[in-house]
Subunit: 430 residues, 2 copies
Amino acid sequence: MTDVRGKVNIGLLGCGTIGSGVYHVLTKNADALADSAGRPLSISRILVKAVDEPRPFEVDASIMTTDSREILEDESIDVYIEVMGGLEPARTFALEVLGRGKSIVTANKELVAHHGRELMEAAAATAAQVKFEAAVGGGIPLIRPMEESLGGDVVQKMLGIVNGTTNYILTQMSVEGSDYSDALAEAQKLGYAEADPTADVTGIDAASKLAILCSIAFKCGVTSDQVYREGIQAVRPDDIENARELGYAVKLLAIASRANGGISARVHPTMIPLDHPLASVSGNFNAIFVIGESVGELMFYGQGAGSLPTATAILGDVVNIVRSLGRPPVTRRSYWSRPGQVLSIEETKTRYYMVLKVVDRPGVLAQLAGVFGEQQVSLESVMQKGIGDSAQIMLITHEVQERNFRAARDSLEKLDSVQEIPSVIRVESA
Amino acid sequence: MTDVRGKVNIGLLGCGTIGSGVYHVLTKNADALADSAGRPLSISRILVKAVDEPRPFEVDASIMTTDSREILEDESIDVYIEVMGGLEPARTFALEVLGRGKSIVTANKELVAHHGRELMEAAAATAAQVKFEAAVGGGIPLIRPMEESLGGDVVQKMLGIVNGTTNYILTQMSVEGSDYSDALAEAQKLGYAEADPTADVTGIDAASKLAILCSIAFKCGVTSDQVYREGIQAVRPDDIENARELGYAVKLLAIASRANGGISARVHPTMIPLDHPLASVSGNFNAIFVIGESVGELMFYGQGAGSLPTATAILGDVVNIVRSLGRPPVTRRSYWSRPGQVLSIEETKTRYYMVLKVVDRPGVLAQLAGVFGEQQVSLESVMQKGIGDSAQIMLITHEVQERNFRAARDSLEKLDSVQEIPSVIRVESA
């Protein structure tokens, strides 16, 4: 089935969990890949930190090198795969490769989220390609469908579960009733969370992924520091239970939409209706829900991380590049140079769930209602839970601008009758 | 953003619900499409049965013709879109267009499912392209992700809700407790079911779509008549209620997998666990769940029909073709000429739910168990519902070959103690 042209030489930059997975799948599925790509694929050289590191899959040590010049300057290499992670030296290597007119596939979300514009411009300058399907949603085909299949539509909104660690933790808290730190410890024990979980639990990882999705969907350059974020550390088992009573699930969502001539882009714990397709995405799975003007609602679901799913996405990109080697690239991303106009979180409109610990005396509810009214925050539902010292008010607002909600919250905190506001979570319908 | 080459002329074959939707989206999103495709797109001629037909979207009547020669022989047309439906004259027209070296995008599932091989061979002969993203799952990006993003993986199994009409009916039966005919009448009233619903409710439509998915996923030619099918007409509200008690939802699934060196391909009502992502796909939505060797579980969800979602998929294909106009096509489907080895349903292995009306006397259960044992059918669970005249046995088997299950069923029907077997539904876990 393959044509007569010779094999494609691939330079692999990095060979940890993902890199060795790429080597494994490429070797195992060599025939299917050659069939898809039209030419046999072969990893001809691998850049490693140390040859003897333990790796989840066996890799031919004879093609490894610790000298970056040896692989970057190897003229026989046709395509590079970057799976080192981190900003440097990944950025410098990628720019060098692109400068030589060689295409590169990367799984590095930070790299694309921070330096996307620089990469796209470097690629355009030499007619090389940058592909990064694996950077968002692991093995889920997402970037290419968004760029190509939806090329005839206008994306209005995206809501994504793009971080498996936090989704695992929130699922555990929901199913087992465990609190945040126990669920985190469990995730760490199972290898779903890193020893230092900061990037996951504070939403940094999700913000990088959302920046990339925004750039693709809204055709402009969005960087991760433009994305507002709140992590899941403050989510309490009580909130998850309250949410369920109210008909919602609590998820860390990455949300972006067109709003007021700009883009709203934010990552935060979110209550979504239990019958929303995202609500039942559990454990360490990822899913991205997209609303297009014409196509309506779409959802892409799958394993957002892991060595083999990520390897599949990388190899899909490699196949795509190999199919068009020697031709001018068809993917046009000149829009990445146009900076995205991201709104401040204060301008964002959403609904809010709030819990207040209040003193249990007549007139308190009227006082609260008065404060909300002053800030044009109207309430969708109000419930009192408990009486006496444990009295709590649980409410959900109608849609309101964050600025007004914050003003109301500040005023509430100053009231004598309000002892504490233990929880605020944003609420989305779709 | 668009380059200096001239506009792309599109010939639209058919202008009903979908065709007028294509015209509408192409006109409305002209700028975004030009940006994605690299050249402006324009529908220059439209083949219609009658110029004055009522259409959901306004279409320029001055470019309509009722003379097929006028559009098929128009040398200025670069790409064709076929949305006439049905086998003829769609097939003849498509082959003629491909014979002239022009690419064609079709939404016609019957055409691809019946004549896929002929179309792919005609396209290969003139280096033209056939694209059919809209033929399965409406607006859901599916064909291209399966072909390209999963090019480095091996698909093991697919389970799809690919018919919105039957999913709407089964959802209504589940939510409202209504019976099949009432739910069908409701679907017809809302326009989700045709006046003659045969193709939907008997699984013909789903079988065509599954044949296309099998061809793509398993890289061989599968036609719709190779797909085993059972419709939803015999599903009873009782079955849906029983299923829920047992922890399952009832869906019309299109299922395909690699099995015994061949392919198992079947469409039938199926019980799937309530926590499976397909179980919560409700109303007229579609979803296709794919298990790949490396990528693991994926699901693609969205609107499987409707004018605008389908138009989006068609225009995504058009953009893809325009981007590579004048270059040799990269999509290789020579595998379509290799006939798929589809197993007989008797060789398929699955689990079964069965309800038996039995006479309520001692020893009946032992008698049933004996019959199952003779045919190597082992039982996962057995429940008795009701007593006396209304006694029913409800059981679920372990995985067993259909051949053995059928033999057991035949023997059961001959027992004096079995009055009736009102229901048998296959059960899948993933």
